[in-house]
Symmetry: C2
Subunit: 265 residues, 2 copies
């Protein structure tokens, strides 16, 4: 994919894309891609790679380029895993919740690709790199939504059936956290840190006061804790996946491009 | 102020401003101003007029220009009034809370200018007009933070003292809403509506599940209820006032401009 983008830049074509892969490539390849765009004065807009049409990338770029100092970025970036957390809290067994998510078209063809957390890790890397952090996908401390040994089944239907053996343990864990007033969420956390950057992705239990606690259904959110937004983070929240909002976000990127070009004379 | 902006456009100068007044002028004058910018291919960025550096205007523009249909916009746009609501909920008397806000530099020189709600009404008009609604400042159904008859005192110090006579009634009302699990907020609501646009600004009591209920301190928020964000609104939340974040937002507008100009060749 990145080869096509590079060729586009070379031919004077701007690129708007919702594809996460080119931005989560090894650093040298990503840098070469962005360099090609700059060399040809072309734009590369990818606002929809994190949170669909929610204003995430541009907001972060603005924080960075106006000199704010990011302390931590936290977020629930997967509408699919958000939906699963919501169903679990409502008492649904894990296996039934995943099947329902698949039936509703919320998951990848093989739900394993959501439960692995890899998609969330890619989004975390995209944000981390906007901060100028030198991080690779392999640096992400990634804990899948369910233990990795349950993700080996290649057949989607058998995979769905195999999840039933986790139902009791997952239900017990959710009940235990609910008893403490906490809620299960699948959270990404990016911390530049004085001792080196840290990117973690995995299941957590959040307090009722945490911004992620208020999420319903397949909502996504991102919270920017910065020097300027120190007391309370800047939070963006809403539907963060789905064809309609993603298409709208891509269109917004295209129109922004068109507006800039139109203004030139 | 708008005369200076018009002259700037005429002389080929782009304008970035946090000033609400030119955008809340009578429609004909505002239109003439925007027309002048377009005529000379100049940009006019005013992201910081609502919510300081929070991504509000640009987010709304993106919704509108990608064809989303806005059902309602709701928001707490005044950090000052948010701070007062927060203090009242914590049991502080109104007059003491206003004095504290003034001492912290949160209010205008005369706190009446915050309590009147006029500043919030201006922000609501700016957003309503982004939706293409034909509304004037005088069309806003505006209820001040305290009854209007208490806003006549011209001397700030006497005004602060005069608020003490409202303390008991305000405290009783806040206690009554708390007893019902509700919280006092100062809310703006913009509804295009099939029967004509409606813009209301005033004190309300919100349920614990309302996005405004979670606000702390001087936080601002805006929720966009649209056709695409129908189930749950798109919400932006965070510090919405203060010199630092406003300056950062103005700088972000300037850099966006510079970036577009730099890319031209």
């Amino acid at each position: 994919m990145e080869k096509i983008y590079r060729a586009a830049f070379t031919h004077g074509i701007n690129v708007v894309s919702a594809n996460k892969q080119p931005l989560a490539l090894p650093a040298a390849e990503r840098t070469a891609l962005l360099h090609e765009a700059r060399k040809h004065f072309r734009a590369y807009h990818y606002e929809t790679t994190v949170g669909a049409a929610l204003p995430v990338i541009e907001t972060l770029k603005n924080l960075v380029r106006t000199g704010d100092h990011v302390i931590t970025i936290e977020g629930c970036f997967s509408g699919t895993l958000g939906f699963l957390c919501d169903r679990l809290v409502h008492g649904e067994p894990l296996s039934a919740a995943v099947r329902q998510a698949k039936d509703l078209g919320y998951t990848e063809p093989h739900p394993r690709d959501d439960l692995s957390g890899l998609d969330v890790a890619r989004k975390a890397i995209i944000l981390a790199r906007e901060l100028g952090l030198q991080v690779e996908l392999k640096d992400v401390v990634l804990e899948p939504f369910v233990p990795a040994e349950n993700l080996r089944e290649d057949d989607p239907e058998k995979f769905l059936q195999s999840l039933a053996k986790l139902d009791a343990a997952v239900a017990a864990r959710v009940a235990a956290s609910k008893a403490q007033g906490k809620l299960p969420r699948y959270l990404a956390r990016i911390t530049p840190g004085a001792a080196g950057p840290k990117v973690t992705v995995g299941p957590v239990e959040v307090e009722a006061s945490h911004p992620a606690a208020a999420l319903r259904g397949a909502e996504a959110f991102v919270a920017f804790h910065t020097e300027r937004y120190r007391e309370y983070p800047m939070v963006v929240r809403g539907a963060g996946a789905g064809g309609e909002v993603t298409a709208a976000g891509v269109l917004a990127d295209i129109l922004r491009l068109a507006q800039n070009i139109r203004g030139r004379r």
